[in-house]
Structure formats: structure tokens, C-alpha cells
């Protein structure tokens, strides 16, 4: 198992290098630092000197891959590629355009992101699975068809619509909770309860429908039929036989997301002004702060790869037949 994890981590390295190269090409070769400077400083009334100053200030004034002016190892380290891309591997993200250290910003903002994303995730799974099981109890009946119709309808509504309308009716008209904001600590729940509820409800359509198909697949198999023949009640069949057997596909879809919860939710956080990583990224996109976007792309890929490894490990826990080697 340990050896397997080490090997998987080694596989991750070429992928991360690929991600790194891709972002490097996107950010430094497709658009040169001069283009970026121009975009930042305004297109027309900008002097050549101002551009050069901006580039020097951000540390983009070095050659891309190879620095002939320097000597020794400096020839490779004194380049944009080393300074801006290779250093990401050490989680050294550099400074944002405002001059703040990106890494400490990221660490600060993970907390609020998790406070929103983790409950949404856990409650969401719990609600989806319960709803799917409940519907499955009435499989083939009119209620089942009605429920599926409701799921498809809920899926077809834009995520933004849930947020806009939910915020409007619950927070603005009914004034049950604050419209937006965030508070550290336990009394921050008042700010979080609405975004969590909206996140869970907007996910029911697609989620419950997916779990329902998984459960139907499992409940059509021989072991479920045998259990019914033995006289196990329908609820017993669902909980004792169908649910554990549907665990593998559920884990495939679910575990991979867990590390990415740190990244937060872009839209939810900005609508409810929660100072997490999602709104951090959104602000960076809108301010065209490429250093932050680059750092977040890298961080996101790292978290995704960790998620993949966790998925494999969770298989051995859910299904004793699976051996990792």
C-alpha cells in the first residue's frame, strides 16, 4: 500500500510538469509580458518606459528559459521559467499584483472556503443519497416517475438562478438571515446557513438522479434478488445489500472532489461575500492578476491528483477484494 502511494506520487510528477508547462506557455509565450503590461496599464496612453518599469517590477524582465548573461547555475535559475514556474513546485507562489504574498493569502482564505464547502458537500451527499433511497422504495410507481421528473426539472434550472432567487426571497424579503458577509467562529453560522442550503438544494436534481441510477443498477443484481427471496424487507435490501454494493461507484465520483473543497466555490463565495479562495480567484480574474490565477491553476491540479490517489485508497477500504499493487 505504502509503495503504491509512493509510486502514484511519482506518476503525478510528469502530470504536474505538464500542467506547469501548459500554464507557462499560456501565460508567457502566447502573451508576452509586454502584452500583459499593456493590458494592465491601459491600452493607448502608455509610454514604453512605464511598460518596462511594470515588467521589471513584476520580475518579468528576465529571459524565458536560458540566461546567457549570468554565470554557472544562475544561467538556468535567473529565468522567468525558473522564477515563476519551477518555484510553484515548492509552493512558492510569489507576490500578487498588489504586492501581497500569495501563499499567505491562500492559507488565510482556506478556512472560510472550507467552512462553506465542507458542510455543503457532506449535507449534500447525505440528502442526495437519502432522497434517492426514498424514491427507490417506490420504484416503478407513479411517485417514482414524478420524482424523476422533479429531478430533471431541478437539473435544468441554472445554478445562478437558485442563488439569485434564494438570496432574494430568504435574505432580502423574509430577512431570515443576513444577505451576505462572513464571521469567524461559531456565530458565523448565520452567514453560512443560506449558501449551504442553496448549494445543497441546487445539487439535489443531478445528485439524487445519479444515485438513483446507481442503486437501480445494484438492486437488479442477483444478490438483491436472493435477499428478497429470503424474505428480507425492501428497506433491508436497500440498506444492507444495495447501498454497500453501490459504494464503489459512489466513491469514484465523491472522493476525488474532497481535496478540491479547499478551493472553495467561485460563485457562491462571491455572491455571499465570503472571503474564501473562490472569491479570491474571482477577484484575481476580474483584476487580471495573472500571478494569482497561475498559482491557483497549479494548486487546483495538485489537489485533483491527491483526490485521485485518495479515491484508489478508498477502494481498498470499501471493497476488500481490491488490492493496490
Amino acid at each position: 500500500m505504502f509503495a503504491y502511494i509512493i509510486r502514484r506520487l511519482c506518476y503525478a510528477i510528469p502530470i504536474l510538469i505538464g500542467v506547469n508547462l501548459l500554464t507557462f506557455i499560456l501565460f508567457f509565450i502566447v502573451n508576452t509580458p509586454e502584452d500583459m503590461a499593456r493590458a494592465h496599464l491601459g491600452d493607448k496612453y502608455v509610454t514604453e518606459q512605464a511598460i518596462q518599469e511594470w515588467i521589471a517590477d513584476k520580475g518579468y524582465d528576465q529571459p524565458l528559459f536560458y540566461n546567457p548573461k549570468a554565470s554557472g547555475l544562475e544561467q538556468l535559475t535567473g529565468t522567468i521559467f525558473f522564477e515563476k514556474s519551477v518555484k510553484l513546485f515548492a509552493f512558492d507562489f510569489g507576490n500578487s499584483d498588489e504586492g501581497r504574498n500569495i501563499r499567505s493569502d491562500v492559507v488565510d482564505r482556506m478556512g472560510p472556503s472550507l467552512a462553506l464547502a465542507l458542510p455543503t458537500f457532506i449535507i449534500g451527499i447525505w440528502v442526495n443519497i437519502s432522497v434517492a433511497l426514498m424514491v427507490l422504495m417506490f420504484r416503478g410507481s407513479r411517485l417514482d416517475r414524478f420524482a424523476v421528473a422533479v429531478f430533471v426539472t431541478m437539473m435544468s434550472v441554472s445554478y445562478l438562478f437558485y442563488i439569485v432567487v434564494g438570496q432574494f426571497f430568504i435574505a432580502k424579503v423574509s430577512r431570515l438571515v443576513p444577505v451576505s458577509g462572513y464571521n469567524e467562529g461559531i456565530d458565523g453560522w448565520r452567514f453560512l446557513i443560506l449558501p449551504i442550503a442553496i448549494g445543497v438544494i441546487s445539487g439535489i436534481g443531478a445528485g439524487a438522479r445519479w444515485y438513483r441510477t446507481l442503486f437501480i443498477e445494484a438492486s437488479g443484481q442477483d444478490f438483491a434478488r436472493t435477499a428478497r427471496a429470503k424474505g428480507v424487507s425492501e428497506a433491508g435490501v436497500l440498506f444492507r445489500h444495495v447501498l454497500p454494493n453501490a459504494m464503489l461507484p459512489i466513491l469514484t465520483g465523491v472522493v476525488v472532489v474532497i481535496p478540491s473543497l479547499f478551493m472553495g466555490s467561485l460563485i457562491m463565495e462571491s455572491f455571499f461575500s465570503i472571503p474564501g479562495l473562490g472569491s479570491y480567484l474571482l477577484d484575481a480574474i476580474q483584476a487580471q492578476d495573472f500571478a494569482i490565477v497561475r498559482a491557483m491553476v497549479f494548486l487546483g491540479s495538485v489537489l485533483y491528483i491527491i483526490g485521485l490517489i485518495l479515491t484508489d485508497i478508498s477502494y481498498t477500504w470499501a471493497d476488500p477484494r481490491v488490492r493496490l499493487n
Partner: protein
């Protein structure tokens, strides 16, 4: 690209304007039609499509989707109208307007040109905000100004209810009459070529849906030219018109994004599964790398960079719409790049499976070339995966457009889109009293499209997925 042929359209002098996305959408619709026709030859595929259309739901949703596509295509034929001649202008010389119109604009009549100053409520006669008005006597009052267009044909404000009812009946009648005419033509055509061997499809469901859509369109167009049926937005544009224009953006995002990159996904997926070895390794490496970048981030980064490129190269685009169009195509391409990976993975796995089968081995033994094996034996057996993934992706892409527009990396604000409208609505709702109509128009049209596509794709999935086929057997 501008050019003029014959240049007459219903008596107008026009200059046809062709955008890149117009070319692509017509090319793709043609390609899909050819693809489906070629599938018809195969009796098994015929049977599957028949299964989709043998349900009333399949028929109705298909008609709705086709209506959307027809509107989108009508909105994809662009031209610039000639300006009325000025006095000292030479007789041969014609100047063309800078605004680009489409066939849809013609069908909607004056709806798109009736700009008010700012917000007004649905069917309102007066503006939503009070303004300082200068009375003819030179006196200043603060009151709601009368709208320039909305309901200005009325002689008397009290007649409004009756007038609306009258024109509603007229519009519904016009739409229904046209629908009935087309339906009866279709019914007669069906009768002529009916074969007793094949069970009849539930045409009635399709006809009823068609009649409802036509009646609704007739109603909206008739009333939309007299009133602002869904009010106006902040800039005074008719909300109904804007939401109808959003159809093109939604449909194009849904189709172009998948189809632009589909050749890449298909060729790489088949190559990886068929040739195996180092090709497989390379393809797997490429898609694992792309998958591991969070989709939204990759899209945001790429769109941002493209925006920088456009801003630094403004000379490439003649009209404002062309710039918006280039941005839009780039967005489609980027969305496609982030979504082709899953299709590629599926195709690779299926090709691996198929290339082990006996008939492929037999073809190899007979010395059939690789290209022919792929074309004759592998590609036809992958078509169901391609169809299913195309319809499943469609609705997700339409929904994604709204989210991307909110983040600020979606379509150009100059282009009408449901995403942009919903985003504006979030601040408009919090005004006092709140402005809800901007949200409702975009929401309703988007919801109907996505719901129909979701329902239709479920049926397609049931019919084409071998797994569900086995269960049913």
C-alpha cells in the same frame, strides 16, 4: 466578411455580412444532418431513432429543440441594411448601416429598434423611474415620463386592457392559422407515403407542440411590436427581444463547443485505443494533464489571455460584432478543449475493446488497411457513444455559459446572452421595488431549452446505450 449578391431582400438593399460562427453553425448543422442520414441506412440505428420518437415526450421535446435551432439559424444570417439616401449622394452610391441585422430581426419586426430610455415594466405605458420633465408651459415637474414606443398607438390610456386582449387574439390566431396550415400539409404528405408495415409515430404530440409554439410566437411578435411585453432593461432595450436573441448564443455554445473539438477527441481516442503503445501513452498523458486542471480555471485563464490578445490586436476586426464573435468562438473552443477529454477517454476504452473482437482480427488477417478497419469496423460501433455524449454535453454547456458570464469570462457584453441577463438581474432584484422581468425572460427560455434537451437526451441515452438495452431485454 461583407459581400453583396443581388442584394435585394424584400425590397431592401442589403449587404450580407457573414460571421465566422455563422459559417461554422451552418456547416455543422449540415454535417449533423448528413451524419444522421447516413445512419438511417443502418436498420439498427433506424430502429433506435424510432424508439426515441415513438414516445410522445420524445416527439414534443424534439419539436421544441428544433424550434430553438430554427430561431438560432434564422439569427445566424446577417446583413446590413442600406441607409436611406442623403440628398447630395450619388445615385449609385449606397451606404450601409453599421448595425448588423439578421433574418430573425426581420421576423420580429420593429421589436429590436424600439429603444426606451431606461427600465419600464411589462406592458407599461410610462417609464419605471421618475424624471424631471419640462411641460410645454415651461413648468418643471417630477413624474414618470411617457414611453416613446410602448403602447403609443393607443388613443386613450384606458383602452389598454381591451387593446391587449384584441391583439392577443389576433396574434394567437395568426400563429395558429400558420401552424394549422403547415400541419395539414405535413399530414397530407404523411398520408401519401404511409406504409402500413411500420407503426405510426405519435405525430399528434409533435403537432400540438408545434401549434403551441407557433401561437406563442405569433402572440409575442404581434404584441411585442406594440408594447414591451417583458418590459425594458436598464439601457432601454426590449427584454423579450434580448432574450430571443439570446437563443442563438445558447444554441451555438451548446453545439459548437462540443463539435469543434469532436474531431480531436475522436481521432485521438481511436488512435490511442487502436494503435496502443507509445501513441496510447502520449494521448493518455495529454488528457490526464488537461483533466487535472480544474475546468473553470483553465477556461478563465484561457479566456483572459485571449482578451488580452484581442485588445492588443484591434485591427483584426472591422465591426464591433466581429470582435464579439471572435471572442465567442474562442470561448466555444476553450469550452470544447476542457470537455473533449471525457469523450476521448470513453472512445479509447471502447476502441480497445472492439479491436480485440474477432471480426477486427479477421479484417487484419485479410490484409485490410488500418484506415479501412477504423472506418468500417470501429467508427460505426462508436457512433452511439458520440451521439450520447453530444446530447448530454449540450445542456451542461448552455448552463455553463451563464456561470462563465457571471465570472466575467463569458460572451461579450455586446452579444445578447441569457448569462449576461441573469447576472444583471442579481442587482436589479435588490432594487426597491424590484425589477424581475429581466430575469424571467432569460430564465424561462433557458429553462425550456435545457429541460427539453435533458428529457430528449435521456430518451436518446435509453435507446442507444447497450447497457439499458440489455436491462430491458
Amino acid at each position: 466578411m461583407d459581400f453583396s449578391i443581388g442584394s435585394d431582400l424584400f425590397g431592401y438593399h442589403v449587404l450580407w455580412t457573414i460571421l465566422w460562427s455563422d459559417i461554422l453553425i451552418f456547416f455543422l448543422v449540415g454535417a449533423i444532418t448528413l451524419f444522421l442520414i447516413s445512419l438511417r441506412k443502418n436498420p439498427e440505428n433506424r430502429q433506435r431513432w424510432r424508439q426515441v420518437f415513438s414516445t410522445r415526450l420524445g416527439m414534443s421535446t424534439f419539436v421544441i429543440i428544433m424550434a430553438y435551432i430554427a430561431i438560432a439559424l434564422g439569427d445566424s444570417i446577417h446583413f446590413r441594411k442600406a441607409l436611406p439616401a442623403v440628398e447630395d449622394q450619388g445615385s449609385e452610391q449606397i451606404f450601409y448601416s453599421n448595425t448588423v441585422n439578421s433574418l430573425l430581426d426581420l421576423a420580429l419586426g420593429e421589436m429590436g429598434e424600439q429603444h426606451e430610455r431606461t427600465y419600464s415594466a411589462p406592458f407599461a405605458l410610462k417609464s419605471w423611474n421618475k424624471e424631471n420633465l419640462l411641460l410645454p408651459g415651461g413648468e418643471r415637474v417630477r413624474d414618470y415620463p411617457v414611453l416613446k414606443y410602448g403602447g403609443q398607438h393607443l388613443k386613450n390610456d384606458e383602452d389598454k386592457q381591451r387593446d391587449i386582449a384584441l391583439y392577443s387574439l389576433l396574434g394567437l390566431g395568426k400563429g395558429l392559422a400558420l401552424a394549422l396550415l403547415l400541419i395539414s400539409l405535413h399530414a397530407r404528405w404523411l398520408k401519401k407515403r404511409s406504409k402500413s408495415s411500420e407503426p405510426t409515430l405519435p405525430w399528434r404530440a409533435g403537432w400540438i407542440t408545434f401549434a403551441i409554439i407557433m401561437a406563442l410566437l405569433g402572440w409575442l411578435i404581434t404584441l411585442g411590436n406594440l408594447y414591451h411585453v417583458l418590459g425594458t432593461d436598464q439601457a432601454g432595450n426590449d427584454t423579450l427581444y434580448e432574450s430571443l436573441k439570446g437563443i442563438r448564443t445558447g444554441v451555438l455554445i451548446g453545439t459548437l463547443a462540443t463539435l469543434i473539438t469532436m474531431p480531436i477527441a475522436i481521432s485521438l481516442g481511436i488512435a490511442a485505443g487502436y494503435f496502443k503503445g507509445w501513441i496510447d501513452d502520449v494521448v493518455q498523458y495529454i488528457y490526464t494533464t488537461l483533466i487535472s486542471i480544474p475546468g473553470l480555471l483553465l477556461i478563465a485563464a484561457s479566456v483572459l489571455l485571449f482578451q488580452v490578445w484581442i485588445n492588443n490586436n484591434p485591427d483584426f476586426f472591422e465591426v464591433g460584432l466581429e470582435k464579439a464573435d471572435a471572442k465567442f468562438l474562442a470561448l466555444c473552443f476553450i469550452l470544447g478543449i476542457t470537455s473533449w477529454t471525457s469523450l476521448c477517454r470513453l472512445l479509447r476504452a471502447e476502441t480497445l475493446k472492439i479491436s480485440q473482437l474477432d471480426y477486427v482480427q479477421a479484417a487484419h488477417a485479410f490484409g485490410v488497411s488500418h484506415f479501412q478497419v477504423i472506418r468500417r469496423h470501429i467508427l460505426p460501433n462508436l457512433s452511439h457513444i458520440i451521439i450520447i455524449s453530444f446530447v448530454l454535453d449540450f445542456s451542461a454547456l448552455v448552463l455553463a455559459e451563464a456561470v462563465l458570464s457571471y465570472i466575467g469570462v463569458g460572451v461579450d457584453p455586446a452579444m445578447a446572452s441569457w448569462g449576461n441577463m441573469i447576472n444583471m438581474a442579481s442587482t436589479e432584484l435588490s432594487r426597491e421595488p424590484s425589477i424581475w422581468w429581466n430575469l424571467s425572460g432569460a430564465f424561462f427560455l433557458m429553462f425550456v431549452l435545457v429541460l427539453s434537451v435533458n428529457l430528449f437526451s435521456d430518451l436518446v441515452n435509453d435507446a442507444f446505450d447497450p447497457k439499458t438495452q440489455l436491462e430491458a431485454a
